[in-house]
């Protein structure tokens, strides 16, 4: 099984923006509920392959996003 990580943002607006950016850069990602062990937020976060995290971090940081990446597996 491919190790997965989730990218957490402060609000869903940032999730929408980040998802669009990642997709435009060919990164495979999926919108999922925020895992309960992280938060009982009602909203959404982005799940991705753990080994894409470096590229994702660079991409999001370059564009000024504030985010947190957590392993889920």
């Amino acid at each position: 099984m491919i190790p997965r990580s989730v990218i957490i943002f402060k609000n869903v607006r940032l999730v929408i923006k980040a998802d669009k950016l990642l997709q435009q850069n060919g990164i495979v990602c999926k919108i999922v509920p925020v895992p309960t062990f992280i938060s009982s937020e009602c909203g959404m976060c982005i799940e991705t392959a753990a080994n894409d995290c470096s590229a994702i971090t660079r991409l999001l940081t370059d564009k000024g996003f504030v985010f947190d990446i957590r392993a889920v597996d």
Partner: protein
């Protein structure tokens, strides 16, 4: 034939895509904002953000998170006025403010929170920039400017006023101007801008909002669930959640996005509007309330008649010609007091981008017939 001339009340018709988008949402799409992660919720949330982005682009604002949705302009204006630290301060207004501004300010004035003063203005109500230069607005906490009057259509020089105001915040009521006039809110240094979705933006009623250059300066008016920081009883500081308590008007926002994306190019030119106003001025018995030469003017104006009251004009228009206009005080008693049309009010013409020269000819024929009859 388009006989509807009350577009300052609400615009009609709307682009067909507005009802199609609303129906599609209600029948096929559904979903709410930011409360879940399944596809339907994501798509609905993405639509809301697309609308926010479109508004930011239209406003000349680089950060769309500074746009908050409300039920209407009135809610937006109340949120800003009541959210600012105005205790002990003076709020300066133009003489043409709508009751959406004057009523919350008057309530605060009567409670002893603030005082209200009126900016110097020319005869048509446009703020007099020459007199402004000499004005020393001591203890000013806020300037409130009605960008385009819903009574006379006069347009205020908001960029110049904001520059003069310096560090004192400027709140612009853009209810009548948005969708009709080009906006560069960031470049102009506008601190707050209230808008509605159902007039110039061609959306449905029940949706509006505001831009805040520094949203952290505003206290929240309404607190509730935001789908974020759900483990806390505190409102999030982050925008837009800070001013997005409760489920937003999804139908309204989706309709608004469709309206904005499908706004028609106006059939009439500025000259057509000027010619119409000039024609009304030329008619026996009629007087027009509008901008002085050299001042900017929107596609709205009012008029009165020597003999007929505004309500009589509105009734003749509708009963005999099928023309739909608004008469009275237009929720702007301050403007009518300034123009000398209080308490009887005026009859108002508010054009749409859908109006054609044929529609204006019909209107002019009706006006001429009334002029000849009375």
């Amino acid at each position: 034939m388009n006989r509807y001339f009350d577009n300052a009340g609400t615009s009609f018709p709307k682009p067909k895509e507005v009802s199609e988008a609303i129906s599609d949402y209600l029948v096929n799409v559904g979903g709410t904002y930011g409360r879940a992660a399944y596809g339907r919720a994501f798509d609905a949330t993405a639509k809301v953000e697309a609308c926010r982005d479109s508004i930011a682009e239209l406003f000349g604002v680089s950060d769309s998170s500074k746009i908050a949705f409300t039920a209407n302009s009135t809610m937006a204006l109340n949120t800003i006025i009541k959210g600012l630290p105005l205790k002990g301060k003076t709020v300066w207004v133009t003489p043409l403010e709508h009751n959406a501004v004057m009523r919350p300010l008057t309530k605060l004035q009567k409670a002893g929170v603030l005082s209200i003063r009126v900016l110097p203005a020319c005869a048509d109500g446009v703020v007099d920039l020459k007199q402004l230069k000499d004005l020393k607005p001591d203890n000013a906490g806020l300037f409130v400017i009605n960008h385009q009057s819903n009574v006379s259509g006069v347009v205020q020089p908001i960029a110049e006023i904001a520059q003069w105001a310096g560090d004192i915040p400027v709140l612009v009521d853009g209810s009548q101007s948005v969708g009709y006039r080009s906006l560069q809110l960031e470049a102009w240094g506008i601190d707050y801008f209230a808008f509605t979705g159902h007039k110039g933006l061609m959306g449905p009623t029940g949706i509006g909002g505001f831009y805040a250059s520094n949203p952290q300066r505003l206290q929240t008016l309404i607190e509730g669930g935001t789908g974020s920081m759900s483990d806390s009883f505190e409102m999030p500081d982050e925008m837009p959640d800070r001013f997005q308590s409760g489920t937003p008007n999804m139908v309204g926002i989706i309709g608004l996005l469709a309206g904005m994306e499908n706004r028609p190019q106006p059939s009439l030119s500025a000259q057509d509007v000027a010619d119409l106003i000039g024609f009304v001025k030329s008619l026996k018995g009629f007087s027009v309330i509008g901008a002085l030469p050299g001042h900017e003017h929107g596609s709205v104006f009012s008029f009165v008649h020597d003999i007929l009251t505004p309500s009589q004009i509105a009734r003749i228009f509708y009963d005999e010609y099928g023309l739909e206009i608004r008469s009275g005080l237009h929720c702007a008693p301050a403007a009518h007091s300034f123009y000398g049309t209080f308490p009887q009010g005026t009859a108002r013409i508010a054009l749409s981008p859908y109006h054609t020269t044929r529609d204006l000819s019909y209107l002019c024929d009706a006006l001429e017939a009334i002029s000849n009859r009375y």
